[in-house]
């Protein structure tokens, strides 16, 4: 497991021994989803009231008022519960914005969790329906959890995370073996550098590569190409000779990465 980073990617280890990464959604997007849900609910209520008041002429105004009160109650408390406990794990508003509610372990939430997180919404909405408490809690927790999320043990994630743009610079012809053993994290950083290098200007690439001068043994453009060559060696050559067991990664076995 890598060290805690300042990132919205949350690593979760499954019973199957693999680590999955969930991208947690921030408060702004969730506020948008909430606003959409409000609009949808108001729309439904308005349409239903018009239809019911026409019906009321036939079956009596009081019956209709009762149905409306009941509908209002269900919309207020159970609209998010039923949708989130359902198969998609999201209210219509969240679905439109590509969000989903899951347990902190990544599995779908239970009915009970949907109840807890949505009944406590009333507290998150305080003071005066500004969502001040919910926002404060979101900003104070690593996984953007409002109070209801904390109590229910849930997080809101992107259902389909937008892929990180990868623009690798053209690979160098000759791979260069790593001169020293690197830790798994260091090697990963090297590979990421290569994968993202195409996104940066040459000057920025050199600036970053200069941080690893100890490894590349050169500054500026030669340093960059040397790092690229090493990354190329790591990705394409290393395992041709047999999996793992090199470069300070002895403790890593493919199935249980720890």
């Amino acid at each position: 497991m890598t060290a805690e980073k300042l990132d919205t990617l949350q690593a979760v280890e499954l019973a199957e021994g693999v680590e999955i990464r969930l991208r947690v959604a921030g408060p702004m997007l969730r506020a948008g989803a909430y606003a959409l849900d409000l609009l949808i609910r108001f729309g439904v209520i308005i349409v239903a009231s018009i239809a019911l008041s026409l019906l009321g002429i036939a079956i009596g105004q009081r019956l209709v008022t009762g149905v409306m009160l009941l509908g209002w109650f269900l919309m207020e408390w159970f609209y998010p519960v039923l949708f989130e406990a359902g198969k998609r794990g999201a209210t219509p508003g969240k679905r439109i914005l590509g969000l989903r509610v899951v347990q902190a372990t990544g599995s779908p939430i239970t009915f009970g969790q949907a109840v807890v997180r949505n009944f406590l919404r009333w507290v998150d909405g305080m003071p005066f329906f500004t969502y001040g408490f919910g926002m404060a809690s979101c900003l104070a927790t690593r996984r953007f959890q409002r109070l209801g999320d904390l109590a229910a043990g849930t997080v809101v994630i992107y259902e389909h995370a937008a892929p990180t743009p990868i623009l690798a610079a053209p690979p160098p012809i000759i791979p260069v073996p790593l001169p020293v053993g690197l830790s798994a994290d260091e090697t990963r950083a090297l590979v990421r550098f290569r994968e993202r290098a195409g996104l940066w200007s040459a000057a920025r690439r050199e600036e970053i590569a200069d941080q690893a001068m100890a490894l590349s043994g050169a500054s500026g453009a030669p340093g960059v190409s040397r790092l690229m060559a090493m990354a190329h060696w790591v990705q394409d050559k290393k395992h041709a000779a047999g999996a793992g067991g090199r470069n300070g990664e002895q403790s890593n076995t493919p199935v249980t990465r720890r």
Partner: protein, 323 residues
Amino acid sequence: MTVGDFEDKNKQRWEEYQRLVDGMEKGKPGPEAGQLPRRFRELCVDLSLAEFRMYGERLTERLNAQVIRGYEMLYQKRRASWEKLAEFVAVRFPQTVRREWRLFWLCNAVFWLPFFAVMLSASYEIQWVQSILGADGMASMDQMYGGKEDQIAHLREEYGSNFMMFCHYIRNNVGIDFRTFAGGMAAGLGTLFFLLFNGIYMGAAAGYVNHAGNPESFWTFVSGHAPYELLGMVVAGMAGMRLGLALLHPGRLPRVRALAEAAKQALPLILGAALLTTLAAVVEGFWSAQLLPSGLKYGVGIAGWVLVTAYFTLAGRRVGHAP
């Protein structure tokens, strides 16, 4: 093995897996859906390998997304069923209330002590009650329970009134239950406020009618639904206090963990409270305002108290403890 080799070698298995998951997501699992767990585990190993061999983010992100999809399908929770609801009502809910007996008596005390104190204060000094109810409150009590004739029943004469009031009670009273529960997040203060406020206000209403209205029309009206409604409120208070106490006294757990554990324990309480209050709304909507002999209505009220007492003390005793 390069990235390309790895992808070529496993392509067929990944496509197979994707077909299985697609079918599951559409709710139409094919005949070979039973293979999903095995395919899922294989994919997990592939993801681990890809991460370990640093095949790059393009591949690992793709596999990651596929693993998440399968995980969500495999670890779906069982849907709610009538059987589960019956088991909840017959066993789990009364067991949870018995297990939380301390909170039960605490919340009862917070509600009933002010209730009786305020109600009885009316016979010594009516001004307390008057200032609690205010002019509007007193006017509406006069309107409902003021005179000798059966005003409540007259208010319900129009067709559909009973149903409308039933819906009103659901929305209002169950909503109060849920807010009482949520108020527990303020270290229990919100919950205590709701219980105290309701105790004082209802006590004032009862005291005022005893003093200045027609007590019989009041007590015959409330006796039928009082057992379920008031206990529903108390149980909602227990759920809120469970949350509040977890924040105040987390014990050996970190506060957030303690809160999550408490929420699990409070869940049957708040759901049960909602059921009790719904039952109360049925009684209040369709029974309480009927024009029937007072003796019968008091009898039903007493039977209700006996029933809930028996329910909370006896139901689910023979079955093992709730998990």
